[in-house]
Symmetry: C2
Subunit: 127 residues, 2 copies
DNA sequence: ATAATCTACAACCTTATGGTTGTAGATTAT
DNA sequence: ATAATCTACAACCATAAGGTTGTAGATTAT
């Protein structure tokens, strides 16, 4: 997933109408015109929203007769979630590192709860 | 998390510079000017990026002498991840429902693998 | 054949976005 | 005291975003 693709994905999700379209097309295929009926905007506007989602690979369209059915692509959602998880993991790693430092420094008390405040802790050296 | 807040969060994350700022401030507090030195744009531009992240509650600033230290707010990342997980869960629920339908319909074969293609499956009724 | 429906796309308008430069206020260092 | 650093913020500019209307092409229904 290139940075540009990530940009597209997050940008696409930064709009309530588009998030709703993704939500609805996760569990069913819905035509563009059927989608358009439920939003307070023109058909063309909804068409553009779908195009944005398509560009971000969050949905796919495929013809069925004269209508264009839209369905979400779960894999892209998953990969976007994974990106955020990665950010979160930085935080966890940070806590782990702090824990490790504290453990090295204060190994005599294994019952110590793993509290890790934001600010550096004044280390108490063993005598 | 209101829709507008969700908009702000995704919009803030839809830019590589801002994602990088979040990434870096997850594990350390960095001043705005220190951040600004590492991007090919003016200080004011970076200042604006931080403001966007701040508005989305993805980072917090706090004064330390004459500099303004930036740190990420993991809780907001987590809540954004949770939103995407929720979308994914729709997909899982859909699969579960399909499985349930197939189980009701074909309970005699519990060894059947849980394959659930996108297209509706022609149900084969028991005689 | 004709009408109705669904889609595609262009042209246009308004506002938001992402960048710039410039000026001024606080705070720290010399 | 003066200079250097960090920040805040305004003004400006180009372009992208999100909406509109209008026209035309396919496909289905009457």
């Amino acid at each position: 997933m290139t940075p540009a693709e990530i940009d597209d994905a997050f940008h696409a999700l930064a709009d309530p109408t588009r998030r709703d379209i993704v939500r609805r097309t996760m569990t069913a295929q819905i035509s563009v015109s059927a989608l358009a009926r439920d939003y307070p905007m023109s058909f063309a506007a909804v068409q553009k929203h779908v195009a944005v989602l398509e560009r971000a690979h969050l949905v796919q369209k495929h013809r069925h007769g004269r209508e264009q059915l839209v369905r979400a692509i779960p894999a892209t959602i998953r990969r976007t979630t994974a990106l955020l998880d990665q950010l979160e993991s930085l935080w966890r790693d940070r806590i782990d590192r702090m824990d490790a430092v504290l453990a090295d420094d204060d190994a005599a008390d294994p019952a110590r709860p793993s509290l890790t405040p934001h600010h550096p802790i004044p280390t108490r050296r063993k005598p």
